[in-house]
C-alpha cells in the first residue's frame, strides 16, 4: 500500500493516474501544433515543439485500441518524463490531482478496458477505481 500524489486523467470514462513527480506540465492541444511524422506507429499522433525540445505525442486512445475520438475542449496533453525522455500523452481530459492509496496489481481485472500490461498499480477512493500507468511499458 502506498499513498502518492497523482495526476488523474480520464480515457473512455476510466481514470488513469500518473505519478505527479513524472509530470512536467499539461498542455491544451490548441496551444501547440502537432506535426505528423510519416512511418511511425498508428498510436503516434506526431511531434510537438516544446520550447525547442522535440516531444512525441502518444494518443492513448489509439494505443489502447479504443475508439478514436475527436480533440475536444477538454482534451489535454500530459507531458511526462519517462526514463529521462519526454513524452506527451494525449488523454480525454484531466480529472483531478489527488492523493490516492494504491496497491500492486497482481492479476488483471475483468472490468478493465485496456491491456493490464500497462497498469502497475490500482487504487480506489470514493468508490472510484484508479489505475496507475506503468509509463515505461506505455512508451515501449
Amino acid at each position: 500500500m502506498a499513498n502518492n500524489q497523482y495526476v488523474v486523467s480520464e480515457i473512455d470514462g476510466e481514470k488513469y493516474c500518473i505519478e505527479i513527480s513524472k509530470v512536467k506540465e499539461i498542455k491544451r492541444p490548441k496551444e501547440i501544433t502537432i506535426n505528423e511524422l510519416p512511418n511511425t506507429p498508428y498510436s503516434i499522433d506526431g511531434i510537438i515543439n516544446l520550447r525547442g525540445d522535440v516531444v512525441p505525442i502518444l494518443n492513448l486512445r489509439k494505443k489502447f485500441k479504443l475508439e478514436a475520438s475527436k480533440i475536444s475542449k477538454e482534451t489535454r496533453i500530459i507531458i511526462a518524463m519517462v526514463d529521462s525522455v519526454l513524452v506527451g500523452l494525449l488523454v480525454d481530459k484531466i480529472y483531478t490531482v489527488d492523493w490516492i492509496n494504491t496497491s500492486k496489481l497482481s492479476e488483471p481485472l475483468e472490468m478493465m478496458k485496456i491491456d493490464s500490461h500497462y497498469i502497475s498499480e490500482i487504487g480506489s477512493k470514493d468508490e472510484d477505481l484508479f489505475f496507475v500507468f506503468d509509463l515505461e511499458k506505455l512508451i515501449s
Binding site: 510519416p38 503516434i44 515543439n49 525547442g52 522535440v54 512525441p56
Partner: protein, 605 residues
Amino acid sequence: MSSLDYLIPMFLEDTKEYIDYFEKELLKLAENADGPNAYNEVFRITHSLKSVSATLGFEKMSELSHHMEDLFLKCKSDTMSLNDEILSQLFKCVDILRAIHLSISKSKIMDVELYPTIDELILDIEVFIAESEENIETIEIEESKETSKETISEVAEALPEEISVETAKEIKGEINDESKTEAVEKTTKEMCMTCDNETTKLSTIRVEIEKIDKVLKLVGEFIVDKEILNQLGQNLKKSFKRDPDVKNLLEIIEHINSVGTEIQNTVMETRMLPLEIIFDRFPRAVKELSMKLDKKIDFSISGQSTELDRGIIEQLHDPLTHIIRNAIGHGFESKDERIKQGKDPIGKLKLSAKYEANHVVIEIEDDGRGIDIDNVKEKAITNGLISRESAESLSDDELLHYIFEPGFSTAKKVTELSGRGVGLDVVKLNINRLNGMVNIKTKLGAGTNFIVKLPLTLAIVSALLVKEDKYTFGLPLASVVEIIRLKGDVEVKKVHKIGNREVFNWRDQIIPVIWLGKSFGVDSPLSDNKRIVVIINYADQKYAFAVDQISGEQEIVIKSIGSYIGSGKLFGDMKGVVGVSILGNGSFAQIVDIGALIRMSTNSI
C-alpha cells in the same frame, strides 16, 4: 573576500599552470639567458600571477610576484643578470608559490605561517634590485642620456611583436623629452599592457563546457527564431510593400542574419579542439594490441592538429578505436603470412586527418590482406541481409557497405579483441549520429582504407528542404550535387528501368533512382513526369533522389529523436531519419539519413 570565493577554483587552476610554466621557463633561463628576450616569458608569468592574486586579495602573493616582476624587468633592461644566487632565490619563490597554492586550495586563505618566508624572499629580491641600481647609477653618471635612450629603445625593440612600430617610436620619442625614470615607467606600463594582451592569447580562459553548451543551445534556438523572423519579414513585405517600418524591419532582420551567423561561427570555434586529443591515445593501444597478437606494426599519425567540434571529437574515440583494433586484429596478416606473400613483415598502419571543404576526413589505412568482397557477399546472403538475386546486381562498393550492417561479422570466430558483440554497425551508427559517413576502399591482398568523413560542426547544418505531400524533408546540402526538373519528355526519358531497378541517366552516368516519398510511405499526388530529381553524392557514388517539390534552403538545427527510435521504443524501428528540425513556420522537417535510405531502397528491390 567571500564574495569572490567562487573565483577561487579558477584561480587555483590558473596559478598552478602559471607556477609550473614559470618553473619550466626558469630552468631554461638557468641554462641560457641571452638577451632581453629571454626574460619575456617569466616576466609575463609573474605579471599574470601578480594580477590574479591581487584580484582575489591575496596581497602577500601579489607582493611577491610584483617583486619578481621587478626583478625580471631589470633583467630585461639589461641592468642586471641572473646569477646562481638570484636563481636559487627564484626557485625558492617557486616553492613558496606552490605552498601558497596548496594552502589556498585547502582552506581558501593563505596560511599566515608562510608570511615570514615570503617577506624574507621579498627582502632578498629588493636587495638584488638595489644592488643592480647602484651599478646602473655609476654608469649613468658617466654616460650621457644617449645611452639610456638606447637601452630603452632596445627594450622597446625587444618587446614582443604585438607592440607596433608606432608604439616603439612613441616610446623613443618620449624618451627625448622625459626624464629617464619616467620613460622607464612608461615602458613598463606599455609592456604590462602588451603582457595582458599576450596572456589572454596564450593562457586561455577556462570555461565550463556546460556553459558553452548552453550558449550553443541558445544559439540553436536563436537560429530557429531567426528563420521564423525571416519568414515573417517576407510575409510582411508582401502585404505591406510600401510601409517604411517594414523596410526598416527587413533591414534589421538582414543585420540579425549576419550577426547570427557570426555568433554561431564564433561559438562553434570555441568548441573546436584538435584531433590530437584522441589521436595521442592510439599509439599505445596499437603497440599493446600488436604485441599481444605478435604482429609488427609501424603506426604513423598525421594531421592531428585538424580541429573538430568537441562534441564530435568525444564521440569519435570509440569508433576510431574500433576501426584500428579491427585493422590490427583482422586487417593485418600474421608475420609469417606477410613474409610468404613477399610483403614487408612490418605492417603499415596510417591514421591521418585533413580538411576537405566543410568536412574533416579521417583515414585509417592498413596494408594488410584487404577485404574479400565475395566473402562479404556470401556472408550477407547467409545472414539474410540480402537475397542472392539482388546481391548479384550490386556493385562491389555497394556490397562492401554490408559489413556495416547489424548482424554482420566476417571474423570466423569471435575473439577477445574484436568480438564482444559490437561490430562495424556500431561504428557506422556512431559516425552517422554525428552526421558523418564511413566509406571503405579495399584491395584484396593490398590493404583496406577506412574513410570517415565528418562535418566541422555538429548541430547546425544547411539543408535542402523538399516537400512530399504534407511532409517536409531535409537533405544535407553538402551532399547535393545538382537539382534537375523533370519537365517534358526529354528529361523523363532519362529515367530507365533495368530489371527491377530504376536508373537515371545523369551526364551519361547511369545512377540509381530513389523515390524519397515512397521510401517513407508517403504517396505523392504528383504524376511522375512533374518530379524533381536531386542528384546526391554519397560515398563517392551518385544517386538520383526523386522528390515532389523543392521548398528552399535553410540553416537547420538538428534535434535528435534517436531516443524514441528502435525496437520497443515509441517510434518503433524507424529508419532513414537522422533527426528532425524546427522550421521557420514552426513545423518540422525530417532530416534524411541518406546512407540509410540508399541501403533501404537497395534492399527493398
